[in-house]
Point group: C2
Chain length 416, copies 2
């Protein structure tokens, strides 16, 4: 993509509205813009990161034999009344009537909808186990939207649901998903902590939260510096680790995933039963598994940045390489830049070409701010002796070598 053909409105100044580092860099690197408090427009770079995250999640869910679906955001309130959650969930759910007087809501989550779907199509143990998931937009009427994509009224979630005939099946699916989560977060460049947590309004007995420590995270947790155990922060809690007796430290964190053993809460409430091998009617045993997809953008920035800007983990970066053409009015520089752009593109490498008519200083600063791992710089030197400059955004290492050698090095850094 050519910079001048897309929309990357970088900002030199830190926007006043942005409270956290990730929120500041989200805006400064031109990834997203606020439409109103709690609702964000993803600009081209932000959307590319979002899609990279989705790609990782889809690969890992499919690896677990998950089948992808897409459920509606618009839901009949009546289903929530049947599960009893219309009251539990309270004001956080948007509710309204349509012009025909139907009572509707915007789904903050989809347990009721998926249970109703399964109820109508699964009737025998032969159809179990089943794992369905979706990546879909959720809505929550947050009283105080904060931190950009972290606490928003409209956001993107991956929610998966497992259906089993017995507790052993649930246990197996739960463990498979737990491990898939660790792989997903690792590929997203996140250093993740998992905590046994309260199941809250979701119901069920066991749940685990996945947290990412962040200076400006909104959740407080207690961590043991010795054994790395983590637990939710409670004022009244003992501040000493049960395992190794070390003093617990309070850190802030962002919740990016939560998995639940739901059991039969929804299948009992909505009548989702199956016939087992002996012909007995039983409620389906369920689990549910959520990831805050849009939230991962912010969490990844929180954990991968320096004073100059974002440093994208390899698999999340909106482009693999940025070519910085230092003087676009110079025909020869542009010719070299374009030929590099095409050569890399033909190799299947995604490239952003900074073809703006801007000063070198502006371009260097923006390239660092954007955080694409590899910067290929084409300047006057390239004209003199055919050399190119390759800068690694992570190590800040710079190499000036012949075109052939630089492209070899670049391929190695991408694939190595």
């Amino acid at each position: 993509m050519f910079w001048t053909k897309t929309l990357i409105p970088t900002l030199k100044e830190v926007p006043q509205e942005a409270e956290s580092v990730s929120h500041q860099l989200l805006l400064r690197a031109g990834l997203a813009r606020m439409l109103m408090a709690g609702a964000y427009s993803y600009l081209p770079l932000g959307l590319r990161v979002l899609e990279n995250i989705q790609k990782i999640i889809i690969e890992e869910m499919n690896f677990c034999s998950g089948a992808q679906v897409l459920l509606p955001a618009l839901q009949p309130l009546e289903l929530w009344q049947r599960s009893g959650r219309d009251k539990d969930i309270g004001e956080v759910m948007f509710r309204f009537n349509d012009r025909r007087g139907r009572k509707l809501c915007l789904g903050p989550t989809h347990e009721e909808i998926i249970t109703e779907l399964i109820k109508n199509h699964v009737s025998s143990y032969k159809q179990l186990p089943l794992l369905l998931y979706q990546i879909q937009t959720k809505f929550r009427d947050e009283i105080r939207p904060r931190f950009g994509l972290i606490r928003a009224c409209e956001f993107i979630m991956k929610d998966a649901y497992s259906f089993d005939q017995d507790e052993e099946g649930l246990e197996k699916n739960y463990r498979i998903m737990y491990e898939a989560y660790l792989r997903i977060f690792k590929r997203c460049g996140l250093d993740v902590l998992s905590i046994e947590a309260d199941s809250g309004v979701m119901g069920g007995k066991v749940s685990h939260e996945f947290m990412v420590s962040a200076k400006d995270g909104e959740d407080a947790v207690l961590i043991c510096p010795t054994c790395k155990s983590v637990m939710a922060f409670k004022e009244e809690a003992d501040k000493v680790c049960v395992k190794c007796k070390a003093h617990l430290q309070k850190i802030n964190a962002i919740e990016i995933g939560h998995i639940f053993k739901l059991g039969t809460k929804y299948s009992l409430a909505l009548g989702a039963n199956f016939l087992d091998a002996k012909g007995n009617l039983k409620p389906i045993i369920m689990g549910c598994y959520g990831i805050g997809v849009s939230r991962i953008i912010s969490a990844a920035i929180e954990q991968n940045h320096d004073n100059d800007g974002i440093i994208w983990p390899k698999e999340l970066s909106p482009y693999q390489v940025i070519i910085t053409a230092l003087d676009v009015t110079n025909k020869d520089i542009m010719e070299i830049s374009l030929s590099l752009y095409e050569e890399l593109g033909a190799l299947g490498i995604s490239v952003l070409l900074d073809d703006r008519d801007e000063r070198a200083g502006v371009k260097f600063k923006d390239a660092d701010l954007l955080g694409i791992p590899l910067q290929l710089i084409v300047g006057k030197g390239s004209l003199k002796d055919g050399s190119l400059e390759l800068k690694n955004r992570i190590t800040k290492e710079k190499l000036i070598k012949s075109r052939v050698e630089i492209l070899k090095e670049l391929a190695q850094q991408i694939h190595g």
Copy 2:
């Protein structure tokens, strides 16, 4: 994918609620299910078709140098008041207050949002032209949702917006998009008609609709059987073709795309200006270009089916091949089926393996209903002499040959 690991609830009977052929086959082939009137859950097969359509659209939009964004569904009503459209659009827009009293609506379209975004980030002719697009979920409070995905309250659209400094620029972008639309619809297996149409609530002077003729389409059009000219049906209109004087025939059609030369309607209302090369402040000239993405599923079924079920156009089919294992209790049949599944998968061919414990008749009927273009059948014959059967869903041609020859033929039909 294994059939038993996913959710494909095929139906033998025609569902009573389904008024049109595409609606019937949508439900019978297990592509989608109604949650409530106007809101549908995409099941795994339907979502795969949807994603194939999106892939085609993204490729063709990127080919036109479009940059993809994702805008919120939740919008401040105030923006619609500024453009004056909150009145024009009337009750079809869902409106409600959040718990803090903000007046919100669910976007039925995004001209206001994108104009507001551009207004804040484009200020010079140097940043123009620009083409932004999104594939996003829209909401409309339809008084009478109908025909499954055709007239729904929640649906998926591709909406693109062009920004130019003059009429010539708009003219060029409009033509580029017109041609991209013809390519997109062709790749979706649709025989499309384009009509110069009324711009309605969108504003602007010129617009073109793209229609697909369908027995149960909800729009009435007049078509000239000689020169293929098409126009909107009006009771009072002359029923003779202006060009060739032939008698016009009334047919029904489904609208799947609509493009508009908006001009300065939104940029004037919301103050989206730019400085031209001479330093004069001017309103940005806009165009907008919509495609009913989810609607294409139904349109494609309307135009590609027979009495036995769907016949997917190559690029839309949820899988390229279905392997029908005729007796899953037979170890040898399953072994051959699995080795074929893996061999084809390794070649990058997408395969659905019907591993259900069902009678051959049920499997054959379901394979025809699903409409995957190529059926590979593994039965007793395969055990006897190592032969396989390949059925082409379109031509109904059946081939029984050795494994090597059948796989060669299959590859040829896929890539040829």
